[in-house]
Symmetry: C2
Subunit: 156 residues, 2 copies
């Protein structure tokens, strides 16, 4: 049971920005991509969306970069996941797709599920997903970066 | 947020066997693969494991096939998912892998996460996953095939 790389990169970006020691400093996409050893092009798309959603703030110009759009205490983890996951289909009822590593990109690999019109498993998956997100709703970004110095040691 | 195709195929196989109108009849892998338009070779692996776990019973010979290993009321959906999912890592902390469509097969696509040793997000994901599975634990196969005639119309 996996979240997409897209949500994973979003959460890691927010953690990076929350633990940067100097609150006035701006981070660059390259720094974050290098720290996590992840694709800069994938990360760029994620960061663009995070800025649109107001989770981060993007400052243009020669010394530009990104920082948190609001205090970590005000960034709810359930909200982040709800807005970065493309869907919450636990299984792909309508279109059997294979999500590639590339954030958001999909590849069609099969037929819709034959029993989709009468399937009662969907409701249970929906109920289970709501329970999953409800747990995430109980935490903010601040809760997971209390050990900020230790995290920064691993990232810098 | 997705379960693997492996768990998806396992649940669909169990539903197929539970709604077959004649309880003494055996189903073949080909029939199930054809009904759902899914790969017979992937399904064969899934069914082999379901038999090992006792969820289904395999009868050898010319007129052989498979049937449920115990009544649908005794097949808990949480148990099925717990045993068919390769892991419950919501994000891949240690090895960034891309699960392909082929059940269980993985492809390495990245480095382990830099903050893994100090990350507190893992605990929250674990708590959320437990909440997800707890919902599944509340249901059996019998609960999702009460509309068996309607399901069989879509499968036969």
């Amino acid at each position: 049971m996996r979240l997409t790389n897209y949500s994973d990169y979003a959460l890691r970006t927010l953690m990076y920005l929350a633990v940067m020691p100097d609150a006035t400093k701006l981070a660059t996409i390259s720094e974050i991509a290098d720290s996590y050893q992840i694709s800069k092009s994938h990360l760029t798309k994620v960061i663009h969306q995070l800025a649109q959603l107001g989770f981060i703030e993007s400052v243009r110009g020669k010394n530009g970069g990104i920082r948190l759009g609001r205090p970590a205490e005000q960034i709810n983890l359930g909200d982040v996941v709800r807005q970065t996951e493309p869907d919450f289909d636990v299984v792909p009822c309508f279109e059997v797709m294979n999500k590639t590593a590339d954030a958001g990109q999909k590849e069609r690999i099969g037929a819709p599920c034959a029993i989709q019109p009468a399937c009662r498993l969907k409701r249970i998956f929906r109920e289970a997903t709501i329970a999953f997100i409800a747990v995430m709703d109980g935490y903010t970004l601040a809760d997971i970066v209390q050990n900020e110095q230790m995290l920064w040691e691993l990232l810098k």
